[in-house]
Subunit: 498 residues, 2 copies
């Protein structure tokens, strides 16, 4: 398994980026900077943070930036927060770090994101956090109920509109603080990381740089990764414990076998202590699938989630003999916690966030996540665009536009590389590249214990050889040291921080 | 008057770019690559061209690329034309020259544009011409009557949607000709030139370069030029003939004086042989104003229009003595031709094109054209945003968004420079710049007799000194000669052609 140690071109390593909502027979990749369902676990990432420096504001935002119909002029209140405690001021052209919200409320982002708080003071930066339209309190049409009602109201929820929102607010903030020349660095994670990278591409006159963390920018129909989401899930489990991997791998047939018995579903229901009777073996399989995906996606310290699940699955309890499904259930308990019963739909509740994200996945963020042959921990079931589209149509009544993202944002020549910080030569080489494009894409940012950091770097120029690299490097470095010292400092600062 | 011979930063020289439609008390700048009203004059620019190599196509275009409401899925037939006669083919990665239509029908563009035909064969290029939505045959909602009806249907007519149309069609053409790697150069004039430059900024993954001719990219509220449209009109007339300039300058008061007499309006009507009675002196003044603006905007050979007007105004006919208004009228006849009567509304007919462009000017293309103090050939009447907005509101029922264009497309550091081709050093310096940005902006492209060509060049890097220029130049040239020879050839080709 030498894969992650080699350079892979045009392949996105989406380990820590998505979990999934079932949609008819397809799954919808849901992105997120932290697990929405399991975040209250004792070792979850949610921290209690001091928000006394934050001031909340509301911006009168245009509903539709790209048409001029009478309805497009409707406005809504978009929430954003500013921390100006450490800002160096307009005279010093002190920088602005702007967090671009993703499919969460601003409140949960503020609790989860330490990056701006950690780096802001050192850079004398103004910190701005903006909530994404249709999430949290930022609801067009007056209420979540109205906004999320149907395709006519949800239609204005998409990436291009969200980016235009951010552009309007950032220009407004610059005006408010009378600071024309403060460089803005936009920052986001997961879907928010995609937004940050795209913002830099579409609004280079507003953002001087972008930091995109765990952003699966190339997981689309026109850029299907050869090794996808469930390949990574398989790989991580297999590397954690071959025995655990085999137990899970064999469990699917066992579940179907039990379900096929007379009264089989209620046996399964009892085995997994489900809160409600099962409608079919799919319910429990989908639940387990999500457990494993969550464990890998948010596999962070102090107790790594995959290790937790596998330790429980592999354990030999003193008083009784485990059968295969006992072991699987022990894994569930290890991750979800000890409960009187288990809701197999716990990851797919129709919360506002889930409804809004399902819409986005059914309109433009169509990520072809399936179970391919190499995803050996799961029964093979490749992604099927036709059935995905049918599912979306029957759910929302509109047809996805799976090629729109690549038409509008393009397919850049992304490059994935795994580097160690000790490799100075590589560091220099890459620093020239990301300074040039000023889009830095990092995976595994929120995994402080991970010793190797995977970098995804946008670089058209990477193929043109060392000589051009060196010239570029000189040009860019000179240019920036002469004229954008602050930006260089920010980027070097962020770089060393990671 | 040393102005045009010096370098002017952040100032757009819009000589050949706009004429105006009256809107209540404000004027709407109408752009266009050739005069729509006077094009059938004997020395007009319309040529009879051989179109036998052109094939017409219709593309099933999405009404609204930026929302996913049920209505957004409506489609319309967008017309485009292809000339593949000289194309070098997919194997050779032969280039594609794409003309991005502006506020005209494709038919009139095809008649007016020689640039692609002239340069295509030499470059073995595929020639693509695309009609702009809401112009010519490219009408959403089934007919011009429906499409131009009101704000609810006109709302989808704007630059961002038009650019997305072009993106979809160009990707479709590439697929159709199975030519993934053919570089695309987008080309446009006037408003179409703005679209070409913006297309390169927003869709760099589709267009490798843009050629923007006479594109007033910085004539917006946030980037008001210090010397505007009527300054140029004044300057050109004054340089053509001081006497002519003075005659026109003094005529406005004379018109008002005559109009103030008993029966004054019918005296004026007789003097100017108007087809209909005048409602006020404004009618005739607005008509004359447009005559002078047209003369400067389309001041081309073989008989330059300004010279024609001024020769007539200055003439001393053998048989009678001219008074001031006789002279002014002689100028009208010289440009418009000998007619039994003159329609003072001839430049502002409610044609489909005019209705659509008025909408665009009232929604996002808000160009603050007024009569400032230095525009001495005209009575001073600076642009007034409030009355402009009021005019638009009462006409279309919607409020313009005058800051949207600069929010979405940004204010680049444009630079205007007037260079002679004999100045080789400057040529090299600038070639590095435009290769870098790959946006070449040219004014006066359609003026073959003009000995000095004004260049507007986008160049963030121009301020960073010769050394960086030289390094940049080396980098870019090396890179492109190694990997984009074709693009370099195209750009060098276009450059030498101008």
């Amino acid at each position: 398994m030498s894969l992650p140690y080699t350079i892979l071109i045009l392949f996105i390593f989406s380990t820590s980026s998505s979990y999934l909502i079932p949609l008819a027979h397809s799954k919808i990749a849901r992105l997120g900077i932290s697990s929405k369902t399991l975040k209250n676990e004792p070792d979850g990432s949610t921290q209690k943070v001091d928000e006394s420096n934050l001031k909340m504001y509301y911006f009168n935002q245009t509903l539709d930036h790209f048409t001029f119909t009478p309805e497009s002029y409707m406005t809504f209140q978009q929430r954003y927060a500013i921390d100006s405690t450490h800002w160096g001021g307009a005279k010093a052209n002190a920088p602005i770090l702007a967090f671009l919200g993703e499919e969460s409320s601003l409140d949960s982002d503020l609790a989860a994101i330490g990056f701006l708080r950690d780096n802001g003071p050192r850079l004398n930066a103004l910190l701005v956090y903006i909530e994404h339209r249709y999430y949290g309190e930022t609801m067009p049409f007056g209420s979540a109920e109205e906004a999320l009602k149907n395709a006519s109201t949800l239609g204005y929820l998409n990436a291009a509109q969200a980016l235009a929102d951010y552009a309007a607010i950032l220009l407004h903030v610059k005006e408010k603080y009378s600071t024309n020349h403060s460089p803005i660095i936009v920052i986001g994670g997961s879907y928010g990381g995609m937004l940050a990278a795209w913002f830099r591409l579409k609004y280079p006159h507003i953002a001087l740089g972008a930091l995109a963390s765990s952003a699966p920018l190339l997981y689309f129909e026109d850029t299907r990764p050869k090794f996808g989401y469930y390949y990574i899930v398989t790989k991580v489990f297999k590397e954690a414990s071959e025995r655990c991997y085999n137990t899970i791998r064999n469990s699917w047939i066992e579940i179907d076998r039990v379900a096929g018995k007379p009264n089989g579903l209620s046996i399964l229901s009892k085995q997994f202590k489900t809160c409600a009777p099962l409608n079919g073996s799919f319910d429990i399989k989908d639940f387990l699938d999500t457990i494993y995906a969550e464990a890998v996606q948010y596999n962070r310290g102090p107790n790594f989630w995959v290790a937790k699940v596998c330790n429980a699955i592999n354990a030999n309890p003193p008083n009784r003999r485990y059968n295969l499904l006992d072991r699987i259930f022990a894994g569930v308990v290890a991750l979800v916690g000890n409960r009187t019963c288990y809701d197999t739909k716990m990851f797919a509740q129709p919360t506002n966030n889930n409804i809004a994200w399902r819409w986005q996945s059914c309109s433009e963020i169509v990520m072809p996540v399936g179970y391919d042959k190499q995803d050996t921990m799961f029964p093979t079931a490749p992604f099927n665009m036709t059935s995905y589209i049918d599912g979306c149509k029957s759910y929302h009544g509109v047809t996805p536009r799976p090629h729109w993202i690549t038409t509008y944002f393009g397919i850049q020549v992304y490059m994935i590389n795994q580097i160690s910080f000790r490799n100075t030569f590589k560091l220099n080489l890459h620093s020239s590249l990301y300074l040039l494009s000023l889009v830095l894409i990092i995976t595994r940012l929120y995994d402080p214990c991970f010793t190797r950091v995977e970098y995804l770097i946008i670089g058209y120029k990477i193929f043109f050889g060392i000589f051009l690299e060196f010239l570029d490097f000189l040009c860019v470095l000179l240019e920036f040291f002469l004229h954008h010292q602050i930006v260089v400092r920010i980027f070097l600062g962020l770089y060393h921080q990671v």
